[in-house]
Symmetry: C2
Subunit: 374 residues, 2 copies
């Protein structure tokens, strides 16, 4: 097995992310050494096969991965740069400017040299689970996910190359962004969506049971990530406040416009044109925004389309549908199953390349499936 990353690798912090990186690297044959502030957690990680404890005469690591919360990551990075003067050092915190600022501050304070700083580059493997801890670690956690390499102005080519190699070893897709661009990006695609889902779900706390009985797929999808861990998200939101605030302020401004338009429409039989235009503008702007999200394979959204097939909700029927779609020779881009309150029939929303839509619709109908019209 040919190993891409420089060895040995030292992982500092063996929670969900550090543990998953260790499992993936171990599976690739990499020598992984662990340390965690909690001896119990470290022992559990060793037992789970995440890596080994340091030897008495442990050689210096070639690559150090700090997998700790944003608030302590910078301190641990600085410590690693001082302790191992030959190592490339990275951290995997989900907010990058605050960590970089902490490391740069240590240069100014004389704790490390500018040359030390150049051995550092940040990283962010874009994956997570709604559960935490090494016990939830999985070696395949990063497979197929973007892995953001976050160099700063003086990061060495060796540091950048080591992190790209790490990304590939994890099965991820390396993408390079600077810290500010990274933080602005995750504010939009991850942190603000989390706030919006939590705000929406918080309104359900005092909803009546009959009201919740009317919930459909729209509410379920819109609120799903509101189930995430409060402790983790306090750290993330706090550390990326600077990037999140302007996006949330834009939302608040638009929300104020919506409330104003609604107030002027309330009970008004002949409402002002401007109020209706404000509401139409919101929905239309949302149309434009959602159409910009790339397809799951990185293609443009409009390369794909969805056909809807009626499926009896009993074991075997969905499998038969997918078997036949495979026989027809069409690959699934996505599949969403929908069934509802009290009934045993489901709708399979099958997302495929638009070019195959007509072929698949006809072939399924010939085989006796009910396919909804366009």
């Amino acid at each position: 097995m040919s190993v891409l990353v420089p060895q040995p690798v030292r992982i500092i912090g063996t929670g969900l992310i550090g543990g998953s990186i260790g499992l993936a690297l171990r599976a690739a044959g990499v020598d992984v050494v662990l340390s965690d502030i909690s001896p119990g957690t470290e022992a559990l990680a060793v037992e789970m096969g995440v890596g080994r404890t340091p030897a008495e005469d442990e050689p210096d690591p070639a690559l150090v991965i700090v997998a700790a919360p944003p608030d302590v990551a910078a301190h641990l990075v600085v410590e690693a740069l001082r302790r191992w003067p030959g190592a490339v050092v990275t951290d995997v915190a989900s907010v990058k400017t605050t960590v970089l600022a902490g490391v740069v501050a240590a240069v100014r304070a004389g704790e490390i040299s500018a040359a030390d700083l150049s051995r550092y580059a940040g990283a962010h493997p874009m994956a997570g689970r709604e559960v935490a801890g090494v016990i939830a670690a999985r070696g395949d956690l990063f497979q197929g996910r973007p892995f953001v390499v976050v160099p700063h102005g003086t990061s060495t080519p060796e540091a950048r190359a080591s992190l790209r190699a790490l990304a590939v070893e994890l099965g991820s897709v390396p993408i390079e962004l600077d810290a500010a661009a990274h933080d602005a990006a995750v504010a939009r695609v991850s942190h603000v969506p989390q706030v919006m889902a939590s705000l929406l779900a918080s309104t359900l706390v005092d909803a009546t049971d009959p009201a919740l009985g009317l919930a459909g797929q729209g509410l379920r999808d819109t609120s799903r990530i509101a189930a995430s861990d409060p402790r983790l998200w306090v750290e993330i939101l706090g550390a990326n406040a600077a990037a999140i605030i302007p996006v949330l302020q834009a939302i608040r401004g638009r929300l104020d416009g919506v409330l104003e338009a609604l107030a002027s429409l309330e009970g008004d039989p002949d409402p002002r044109v401007g109020s209706r235009r404000a509401l139409a503008g919101l929905i239309a702007e949302g149309n434009r925004g959602v159409s910009r999200i790339p397809g799951k394979h990185g293609g443009a959204s409009d390369a794909f389309t969805t056909i809807t097939v009626l499926v009896p909700d009993r074991p075997g029927h969905l499998a038969r549908l997918l078997t036949e779609i495979g026989q027809i020779g069409v690959n699934l881009e996505d599949l969403r199953l929908e069934h509802t309150l009290g009934k045993k029939v489901g709708l399979a929303h099958v997302s495929i390349e638009r070019a195959h839509e007509s072929l698949l619709t006809h072939a399924l109908r010939e085989r006796g499936w009910t396919v909804a019209d366009g």
Copy 2:
């Protein structure tokens, strides 16, 4: 075929909803007569098999279904109550208090009698598509969905029974709510989620391409319904402004708290406890809210659990997984497929009854599948 609803049924307005009701009733053997303000739309609906045009000596309908936008529904209901003095009259607009208010106003104005009013009860079949028009109509649109029967204080038992029969004929689950309870419920489970998804998606309009390249399932789910039709939603939001405003105001108040907490945390190495508590409170409240959404078969959410299986993203593999799940004898509650940027491996999130979790996990592993822990 035994028909439950009183006949003939007159459908006024043959768009997506009127057309889909007609298709479903025709399939059940019901005599359906159509009228639409647009002769072209009416002719197309007849051609599609939604129903027939009125005869020269057309007998009075037994049930009239007004399937028109909220802003004209009341007028058409009043007209129908006057024209057909023996008919039960309903409307299927997605906001009910404004329609009822319009009909009651016609009683006060002497246009119809109190006895006429008692033949009216509202209805709301909870289904829709992100496309509009009779061409998108489907006879199975309402299968398994809640169908809200919305009587008022003097609705006759006959009117209520006719609408429950209509619900059953459509394959829906009838639920009875008064107009205010209905409007408050849909504000929470449908209208406010639409506003939040549109607000979120609107922030993506000026996001950079690299940022959008980091988008994951969270953003996709949270913004999906932002693709809905602006014209339709202006009507709905405007008509239900009174019920939507307080929920959005609560969200704005909470959003202000989040912004305040973020501002106090921004760049602060030693943030105030209160700010962190405000953010943790938001996420925790979202946890509580999302846990209240019932499971898809009407059970409590916690009766179900999700296991994650790694699936090569090629035709046939997902089908094989589902075939084997069927062989193991476990029924799927839900299935969500997840794959990402540039990679050909997917994660199948298989939702099942919690009682089957251990059985299914072990059986799939024995068959060679990779099932995620935790």
